[in-house]
């Protein structure tokens, strides 16, 4: 999967899973922070996003520092999903 396509998929997943009504997936920035500032998601959003990612991409989303770092931005999430899918090819 090419990078931009994966990024777009993740953005759509964010809007879908978190029911962000009125947010256009393509308006989400690739590199801006998702939590705190930017979309200002919170801890429960992170849980829901983790569950949605695990289901959609069939990957294990753990609780390690690597996972925590992945939730910084869409780019980080895409890299994380790519790395995790490589370990467990679908």
């Amino acid at each position: 999967m090419t990078e931009p396509a994966l990024n777009q998929q993740i953005k759509e997943l964010i809007v879908d899973a978190l029911q962000l009504e009125g947010v256009d997936p393509s308006s989400i920035s690739d590199s801006d922070a998702l939590f705190g500032s930017g979309l200002s998601l919170d801890s429960i959003d992170a849980l829901e996003l983790a569950t949605a990612l695990a289901r959609k991409f069939e990957i294990d989303v753990g609780q390690d520092d690597e996972t925590r770092a992945a939730f910084r931005s869409v780019n980080h999430l895409a890299a994380y999903v790519t790395a995790k899918s490589a370990v467990k090819p679908s």
Binding site: D42, S43, I44, L47, A50, T51, V61, G62, Q63
Partner: protein, 278 residues
């Protein structure tokens, strides 16, 4: 009109009365507080390693084993609080036998929400009321010596699966205690920013939310208060339910509203005003 006593006068009134003997008293105070800490963690480790195998290997369903472990731990908490009471350090009490308010039936599982003034709030609430499990911070739930005990008694570790696990606990009849602040309240007044987890869990499980007001007089075992600075008098923690709220699908709005109510009831300025300034 006389000035109201300052925080340090409220916590250490014997300093003036005892004179030079005061430091002897403080030494005793520090030693007994330390003893309680050692007794608590030592007792927990002993129960975890000597009790858990029996409690879990004895035949029964998973739910029965959890009930069993919870009952054993509750006994431990009561013993711990008995010792603290006997040493005149800390004593929890509540005007009610069950954390319910209004017409919420006794057998209806609830999400219990509370402010978090002291370190012993969880042990207090779990020993005052039956069937209370809490959400545990990961450092405790994953601590090798204690993880089986914390999980075995039904406490839910914060993490990816906490939403489902919390709902499972509520379904099996436990009351779920969550501190929306996520940690102890700031020492000396005010509250931390509320998180919406408790309200989201209640919405998903469709259970009422009971609001508990916790007051610790004099303030003790607070955030960033070293344990050797325990007050001169016994600290009394009062746990009192003051409202029952139906869950709302919009957990964000409900969270802000409850945060405002807590500020109101505890006499702190409205958090919305503060947020606009920053």
């Amino acid at each position: 009109m006389t000035e109201p006593p300052s925080l340090s006068e409220r916590m250490y009134p014997w300093k003036r009365r005892l004179g030079p003997l005061y430091w002897l008293y403080r030494g005793w105070r520090g030693a007994t507080t330390g003893l309680c800490f050692v007794a608590f963690w030592g007792g927990a480790v002993i129960l975890a390693w000597l009790g858990i195998p029996w409690l879990w290997l004895w035949p029964g369903s998973r739910a029965q084993k959890r009930r069993r472990t919870h009952a054993a731990m509750r006994l431990g908490f009561k013993l711990f609080h008995g010792i603290m009471h006997a040493l005149r350090l800390y004593h929890p009490r509540s005007p009610v036998a069950l954390p319910r308010f209004g017409d919420v039936p006794a057998d209806q599982p609830c999400v219990l929400v509370a402010n978090h003034p002291s370190l012993c709030d969880v042990t207090s609430i779990a020993s005052l009321f039956p069937n209370v499990v809490a959400v545990a911070r990961p450092s405790l739930a994953n601590f090798p010596l204690l993880r089986w005990l914390v999980r075995g008694m039904g406490f839910v570790p914060v993490g990816v699966h906490m939403l489902e696990e919390c709902q499972e606990r509520l379904r099996s009849g436990f009351d779920l205690l969550v501190f929306p602040e996520g940690t102890r309240s700031p020492f000396g007044g005010g509250l931390q920013v509320f998180h919406r987890g408790a309200f989201e869990i209640a919405a998903r499980a469709g259970v009422p939310i009971i609001l508990l007001e916790l007051t610790c007089v004099p303030p003790a075992l607070g955030k960033r208060l070293p344990i050797w600075k325990h007050p001169d008098h016994q600290a009394i923690l009062t746990v009192e339910p003051f409202a029952a709220i139906s869950p709302s699908r919009d957990s964000r709005a409900l969270c802000r509203e409850i945060e405002r109510r807590y500020h109101q009831i505890l006499g702190y300025p409205d958090p919305a005003a503060r947020r606009e300034v920053t």
